[in-house]
Symmetry: C2
Subunit: 434 residues, 2 copies
Amino acid sequence: MTAPITPAPLRLGIAGLGTVGIGVVRIIQAHADLLSARAGRPVRITAICARDRKKNRDADLSGYDWVDCATDLARRDDVDVVVELIGGDEGIARQAVELALDNGKDVVTANKALLAIHGQALAERAEAKGRLIRFEAAVAGGIPVIKTMTESLAGNRIRRVMGVMNGTCNYILTRMQSGGLPYAAVFEEARKLGYLEADPTLDVGGIDASHKLAILASIAFGTRIAFDGVEIEGIERVSIDDINRAADMGYRIKLLGVAQMTGRGLEQRMSPCLVPADSPLGQLEGGTNMVVIEGDAVGQIVLRGAGAGAGPTASAVMSDIIEIARGVRLPVFGQPAGSLARTQPARTAVPAAYYLRLTLADKPGALAKVATVLGDAGISIDRMRQYDDEDTGEAPVLIVTHKTTPDAIDHAIETLPSTGVLVGDPVELRIEEV
Amino acid sequence: MTAPITPAPLRLGIAGLGTVGIGVVRIIQAHADLLSARAGRPVRITAICARDRKKNRDADLSGYDWVDCATDLARRDDVDVVVELIGGDEGIARQAVELALDNGKDVVTANKALLAIHGQALAERAEAKGRLIRFEAAVAGGIPVIKTMTESLAGNRIRRVMGVMNGTCNYILTRMQSGGLPYAAVFEEARKLGYLEADPTLDVGGIDASHKLAILASIAFGTRIAFDGVEIEGIERVSIDDINRAADMGYRIKLLGVAQMTGRGLEQRMSPCLVPADSPLGQLEGGTNMVVIEGDAVGQIVLRGAGAGAGPTASAVMSDIIEIARGVRLPVFGQPAGSLARTQPARTAVPAAYYLRLTLADKPGALAKVATVLGDAGISIDRMRQYDDEDTGEAPVLIVTHKTTPDAIDHAIETLPSTGVLVGDPVELRIEEV
């Protein structure tokens, strides 16, 4: 605990100098004394690399060795930790991480795709070599959710983890509501603002958030990461109509991830859900993220903060670096990788209220037919609103059900077209209790 | 990282078997496998003690050695960690902790008073002996705020820490509002529910919350704990009138702790403040706690959870125990105690809007006189409401000022009586930006 008289610095090789990489460089440059006091030893960058060396990054990088490839960092004797901020689940990011571990270096990464897909193999590889992989920045940016789950709540059996973990989707949904704008218009706006990934389906398709959910679920339940087991639905089909009507009834629509262990297996789902407008999740605006963790002893813990951006993400990367500098060495997912359980994916069976939006043709008895289908499926109606559209003669109908099972809702949705009174497809969204 | 084939158990001596102590026992009994998997070794209780051995605690304690005094735990060879859950800043709690450290044992405690008052000396003692003191449970119950500050935000220069950290006060304030009840009635209610400390001024006087704030400030700013430097005001003078009128204007009254480092020294204040009703802090109900941390890289992080109770507090105690079992050894306050800076206490100079409630005598020009005093003090008025009380002829007046300095407000408050138009003392509450 007492610092040695001449503590050896922790030497970093930083791979990737985008927003986050430069954010890390800036913290290390600005807070050298603070970091040294807290870590018990200096933290130094020895070498860096990025795709384009000539790009103006508005940072003084003259004190660091440039290398041509991230894998070169993994080969250097003067690098203790490879900080992988390249991204992507294959290619150079994966190679650099694997080579770093093989060469006896610890790894800090913000790469959720890499972990969600190769996390188990990488954790086994790291542990076989006695090395670490730390990844606080991979989930929910600056929010310390990995540490909270792995360490602070380690005395709890976790019941449920959920959260809003993609700032871009939350930006789009809140902006649709505040501006009264359709999805396509806000999507374009987000693209112009640079909020979208190069492949925007990673964001709006819910993939990125699902990577994060799969990582959290593994830690929460002591299971192998099972990204394939996440039921994923993005926000593309969320219409401004649904946002407005949900708001009329006191709800907000959020891209919500939920993971819980059931008797049938591990439930992981990422989908647009309704949450009460006055709940902490309902009030989440713009790019802010929120993770809600429920443990058997602690009850509910809510963590809120910026889910992306240079500063918040670099803050999380730094926390991992400082932990390594301090000599803290924990298994990658909180317990040895070999002890993580294999699980079956399970579809949720937890009853919930549902929001249904149907458009009915102007036919006598149309509503009665819908009510009959719902009744036959065992679904009772909590609230219903019928709107009139005089131009088309069609009648949009909004239904909030009492709690019912997902199976009952599926059955009703499948049966409804047979009534012959529906125009278009019904919209169905789960109302999550938060 | 790979667990040894026969890992030695971590052996605990638990001092104090109240709600929290029994909560810890229950978790260790219920989750032995989980804890062993996560800690990498079994966690075992070897000995326990409490004031009254015969009390029915509704737990099976037959497997543990009873000792007569907490200091006996510190003397046993079969105890690695003394878990101090007695409380109080002197007496047996302090003796047991000091003796445990002297005898080469680590300490886990939930004792905020002990740390707030003797933290520096205890940290120096622990570090001199190469031992640990961990105290996640001492601040904000189940919320992992100590770990978040010490570890997750270690790459940040902290700008401000604030929070609602006494559940009893928050219960009283929210219950006054929801029930339209005066302070005295709710105070009695809280006493009957067992929510108050034996000495209730610890709660309602703001002392308990100030202990917590002083601990957080030390970690946030790398300074020696300075409980004496906290400006403390409790909730005793908060009236139902103020709660109702603040609500009319879109605010809630919370017992809010704020700590920040200034050029003049360390500002630490605990006082009833107004916060916007729709802010995360404004929405906090009942015994829930919230801590808001602002760092230069991470921006704002909000942590919310149960601030007290057996489960949440025991969850925090367990996180400390598991960290010790895992071999994590960090300085008590995040950096060596000897390196913590001495600071001067500083009164806040940060401008804020203020809420003023005055009762004016029914005299011509009374309001004009008040306005003149405020204007002379350089205070401009944002909103004002005058109420009529026909029975008394007195006129309650509510003022929300524009941002002004604490000095200007003090000056105005001192000058107002000289107008001769005031009935009783003016009420002044800061409106905190959150």
